[in-house]
Symmetry: C2
């Protein structure tokens, strides 16, 4: 019991509620009542709601970035002085996410959804926090992507990375929402491993698309520089 139990219960409840409702739409009262702790406990243990948000991210991002750095180390060791391929790099990322020890069975989809929210909801304090804490790992990933796609121009690569991030963050972040809209409710599997196994080839193919396809069809009103 004692301190850490309250802290963890708050973090668990906050993580889940943030993931399913967003940050602003989740009140401290929802969190504390779900966690069965007193309202004042959040401000006592974390200081503020924003600090709680940071703590929620830090709890899974810190071990994740450690695992990811290790995976990159391994990959680069295996590759010797050759740069890692795009497929290898993406899989290293994916496996690090999937294989991370999870608290619950839906831990990883909460994880992805929170990451998506971090980008989507324009919380300045969160972006600053994430960039400061985990910017190094992120930059390393970007550097590896660059070495894995030497054929792309800097501008092409920049945009295609945005597309990749978008497809990933968005897919993982719209847990139930999209499944409502695409009424094609075929029996959709929800395992994150399976989604990742479908997503990675999609991303790799997009990333390596031929520039030739850049040309719009004849008669198009869209001009390319």
């Amino acid at each position: 019991m004692a301190q850490s139990d309250t802290v963890d219960r708050i973090l668990d409840a906050a993580e889940e509620l943030f993931a399913e409702r967003g940050f602003s739409e989740t009140s401290l009262r929802m969190i504390t009542s779900k966690a069965k702790v007193n309202l004042a406990a959040v401000n006592y243990h974390f200081g503020s709601k924003n600090a709680l948000i940071h703590a929620v991210f830090a709890r899974f991002l810190t071990p994740f970035s450690a695992i990811l750095e290790q995976a990159f180390d391994d990959l680069e060791a295996r590759c010797g002085d050759q740069p890692a391929s795009l497929n290898q790099t993406l899989w290293a990322l994916t496996e690090s996410a999937v294989c991370m020890p999870q608290r619950t069975e839906k831990g990883i989809s909460i994880f992805m959804r929170l990451l998506g929210l971090a980008y989507t909801q324009s919380q300045g304090h969160l972006r600053m926090f994430l960039e400061q804490e985990y910017g190094h790992t992120f930059s390393r990933f970007m550097r590896m992507l660059k070495e894995a796609t030497p054929q792309l121009s800097a501008v092409d690569r920049y945009w295609r990375i945005q597309f990749m991030l978008g497809a990933t963050a968005f897919t993982m972040s719209s847990s139930d929402a999209l499944q409502d809209i695409l009424q094609n409710k075929i029996g959709v599997e929800t395992s994150v491993q399976e989604i990742a196994a479908r997503l990675v080839p999609f991303l790799a193919a997009g990333m390596q698309a031929e520039d030739a396809m850049l040309t719009p069809p004849p008669g198009s009103k869209v001009s390319v520089a």
Copy 2:
């Protein structure tokens, strides 16, 4: 002057603020002070904040869906009884978005960002509204995608469409956010036409990725069903 001026000023201000801050984070007081109208004007002219959100979407989505339906009509007429290709379908969508008459020069990126928010922020009332008003056009687009990718299984297609939506909505919606994080601040062009010209080939390539790539690299801890 008179009525419609106030209504339009509210819509303009709301559109811009919603796009840059999200729905819950934008208060009626921000909107009315930006629009230089009285606070009560929103409830007088629209009835509620939710109804204002609907009106903002209806103002650009109604003409857009009309243009899009027309573009699909044209495309299907050109194709005769053949189904339209994936490239043609995606370009029809893109051109409809790009060529829509814009109120301001950043109109289309606001447009895209709002669409992204509509999916991302879990506003039940908005999803219901959009599905009810524009579900028909959306279903038609989905049908054309299906006919353009007969080689894909239903499940594969379902997920790849999610990836496409994600890459699109996310890219367009993270106007400044991502450009902060990817510090690679190469001189990035902002023209939506140019982004679209890069996005469509990315999407088409991802959509048509080989299933063979579905297999993770040897030694992977990720298993595929």
